[in-house]
């Protein structure tokens, strides 16, 4: 075989490559080049979690923002809570996090502590005004001295309940009650059937947190360690087990089907007559359950304290890698401070963070909205400051609490063994 032929044919091959490769590249390029553009125009991405209903409200608010800021284009997307975090983790790892994102206090340290979120105390973030936000609420977005997030709304832990069932059992939770009274009433509701008195709260980290606060303890210390001992957890699970054993609380298989979305939770499916959640979820629970429901404060501890606090129901953050920090900050500021946005989104995520906007809305509220404003207004003097930002790994701790308590509820493990397992694994996970 001659060297010339070889060279010639290879040349032809290279030519073929030269044709094929650019074809492919243009194909790829054609798919991914509709953002950018000069002239001060900016395109930003904005993501949140939640239902379709919430998405419609949020999109309306975003449309209003675009009308008022014609040079900023906002691309939105949303998913359910669990899927949201999986998607966000992947996008962030891929180096393309959204510009404006919805963050939960459970994940604030996870993302903020890893420099994924921009410090809003410096740079473009300074444009976001927190002047009219309750300072204690505003402080919840600060982690290790940096403002990684601003509260998007305020809610309060609450008990959602079916007034008819509780009245029949001779109690009015809205007036407040002790844990003993609650246990007795829930038992009466449960034995009367068909629904049990309460969704078993042994799996809920939020309820454990409130219960600890009623005794002057906390779930996490400011240093990011567990703020309670195995003995505390034992007493909490013994309380939950008392509810379960007396048919006050849901049976194990119903408890295991618990899902944070009201539509799929035991109260939403009419399997229980009350559930610990947040006050802003009342309309969603009501829609799922079908009966008129109400919100009540938590049952109180020995000293009458309900342990409730002003909670950032969710946060807004700006990505540290965003190329459009100014536009992103503008959207965040608009979403928390604009009075018209307050009108559009209502109490879907909770009360408006801006106190002036909130006062305006409260004056004209009706129906479930009014229930919420009245509930929070009545509680306001008693509400404590929010606990410190949970440490990295808090998301995993919540799942750990759920599955170890399930072992107890299904009778596969004693409370003592479950406590030991929880404490060992939690300390490993937080170290």
């Amino acid at each position: 075989m001659g060297r010339t032929t070889e060279r010639r044919t290879r040349g032809r091959g290279v030519a073929a490559l030269a044709v094929v490769v650019p074809l492919l590249l243009t194909g790829v390029a054609a798919c991914g080049s509709d953002s950018g553009g000069g002239g001060g125009d900016a395109t930003i991405t904005f993501v949140w979690w939640g239902s379709d209903g919430r998405a419609n409200l949020t999109k309306k608010a975003v449309e209003l923002f675009q009308q008022k800021n014609p040079n900023i284009k906002v691309q939105t997307s949303f998913s359910a809570y669990a899927a949201y975090w999986e998607k966000l983790a992947t996008q962030t790892a891929g180096g393309k996090p959204p510009d404006v994102l919805n963050v939960d206090s459970r994940y604030l340290a996870e993302y903020g502590g890893r420099n994924v979120l921009a410090d809003l105390n410096s740079g473009a973030g300074k444009a976001i005004s927190l002047a009219d936000v309750n300072p204690e609420l505003a402080a919840t977005g600060v982690y290790q001295g940096k403002r990684y997030a601003v509260p998007w709304a305020q809610n309060t832990p609450a008990m959602i309940y079916d007034p008819a069932a509780f009245t029949a059992a001779g109690a009015d939770p809205a007036k407040g009650m002790s844990w003993d009274q609650y246990a007795e009433t829930a038992r009466k509701v449960g034995t009367a059937g068909p629904a049990r008195g309460v969704t078993d709260f042994g799996i809920l980290d939020t309820t454990l947190e409130i219960w600890l606060r009623q005794q002057g303890k906390q779930f996490y210390t400011p240093e990011g360690k567990l703020g309670f001992t195995g003995d505390d957890l034992r007493r909490y699970w013994q309380l939950a087990s008392r509810f379960r054993d007396t048919q006050a609380a849901s049976p194990a298989d119903v408890t295991a089907s618990y899902n944070t979305s009201p539509e799929q939770s035991p109260l939403g499916k009419k399997l229980t007559a009350s559930e610990f959640a947040y006050d802003n979820l009342l309309p969603a629970y009501q829609k799922a359950n079908g009966k008129p429901l109400n919100v009540a404060p938590y049952p109180s501890g020995a000293n009458g304290d309900t342990g409730q606090y002003r909670r950032p129901s969710m946060f807004l953050s700006v990505s540290a890698r965003s190329q459009q920090q100014a536009a992103a900050a503008k959207l965040v500021d608009f979403l928390i401070n604009d009075p018209e946005v307050g009108k559009i989104v209502g109490t879907d995520r909770g009360l408006a963070p801006n106190l002036k906007v909130r006062a305006q809305l409260a004056a004209t509220a009706t129906g479930n909205d009014k229930t919420l404003y009245d509930y929070e207004a009545a509680l306001e003097p008693k509400l404590g400051a929010a606990p410190p930002v949970p440490p990295k790994g808090a998301g995993a701790i919540q799942k750990l609490l759920q599955r170890t308590y399930e072992e107890v509820a299904f009778g596969r493990m004693s409370v003592d063994d479950a406590v030991n397992r929880f404490m060992t694994e939690a300390q490993k996970g937080l170290s």
Partner: protein
């Protein structure tokens, strides 16, 4: 460089050999190569960028502590050591997966063989039944099928109701640690269509004369099944066994959906892949997740190798028949 120069192994050597034999001048073989690569480029780009590349990266990550946001930190065999010494949930996921493989695969193969034998008759309406039995497999690992399954087996669902009408009161299957895995096994078995179709094809290949001759010699249906059907079908059984075992090890969707996206009640449905997903994408431990993926790959390879080794003992290849028949 090296990847580009190495020819595509499965096809290229054979094709090249054929070309060389036909063309004694030998020039053609070389000539065809660059063009071949040019046309293979899309595939090569895909394979390198989407399969080989990520695999190499994940192998590297499996030796690191990597949270997806900050730079990976090399920790040697730390991840692998942790799996077997300090992680109870890992062992639970191995246990759940092994139970699933050991129960669902034999069950699925038995059911699919039985149905294939039922359909391997000359009665009418067979086409309809074949399609009907195959249909569930078209849904494959779909989320929809798993959602329906969850609705069927949940508290107050149809399965509860039917069993209750026979006096057997069960809890919500999908939410009870005792029943949850069983409901997932049933879903896997229900999707028996793919092995069934292959079994059916295998059954049709068995010469009718063998059965006739044996019947004349007085062999009953059971004996004929044991001494004719099973040996003649053993290559097909072997194929189905390997495929189904590999699939079962990788099961994810049904466990994810039926277990509520979190490993089910008290981790009863914590499949290996599910735990891997949780570790990587929810707990931000991508290094550990990568290590888990590599262990799974190695285990599947070993199991497959063992099945191949034992094949000599029980798989019967009727070589004379098959080469003769292909003329």
């Amino acid at each position: 460089m090296t990847t580009l120069r190495t020819p595509d192994p499965p096809v290229a050597p054979a094709a090249a050999a054929r070309v060389r034999r036909r063309d004694p001048r030998g020039g053609r073989r070389r000539k065809s190569q660059p063009e071949a690569f040019a046309f293979l480029t899309p595939w090569l780009l895909g394979a390198v960028a989407l399969t080989v590349g990520p695999m190499v990266v994940s192998l590297y990550l499996s030796f690191t502590d990597y949270d997806m946001f900050t730079t990976p930190k090399w920790i040697g065999f730390g991840n692998f050591a942790h799996m077997f010494t300090g992680d109870d949930r890992y062992l639970q996921s191995v246990k759940v997966t092994l139970i699933y493989v050991l129960v669902s695969v034999p069950l699925k193969l038995t059911v699919s063989l039985l149905v294939a034998m039922l359909l391997n008759t000359r009665r009418g309406a067979n086409g309809f039944y074949r399609a009907a039995f195959y249909a569930p497999s078209l849904l494959g690992a779909s989320v929809a099928a798993a959602l329906v399954w969850r609705a069927l087996f949940m508290g107050g669902g149809p399965v509860n109701e039917v069993l209750a009408s026979f006096g057997w009161h069960t809890p919500s299957w999908v939410d009870d640690p005792q029943f949850s895995l069983a409901s997932i096994v049933l879903l896997g078995v229900w999707q028996f269509g793919a092995p069934m179709v292959i079994f059916l094809a295998g059954l049709k290949q068995i010469p009718a004369e063998l059965h006739e001759a044996a019947a004349i010699d007085g062999a009953g249906a059971l004996r004929r099944f044991r001494h004719i059907t099973l040996p003649m079908l053993s290559p097909v059984i072997f194929f189905n066994l390997v495929m189904e075992a590999i699939h079962a090890f990788q099961a994810f969707t049904p466990a994810f959906v039926i277990g509520g996206g979190r490993g089910g009640p008290a981790d009863a449905d914590l499949f290996y892949t599910l735990y891997l997903f949780e570790v990587g994408f929810q707990d931000f431990r991508m290094g550990y997740a990568s290590a888990m993926a590599w262990v799974l790959l190695v285990v599947i390879a070993i199991v497959t190798a063992i099945v191949f080794r034992t094949a000599k003992l029980w798989v019967f290849y009727d070589d004379a028949e098959s080469t003769g028949g292909r003329k």
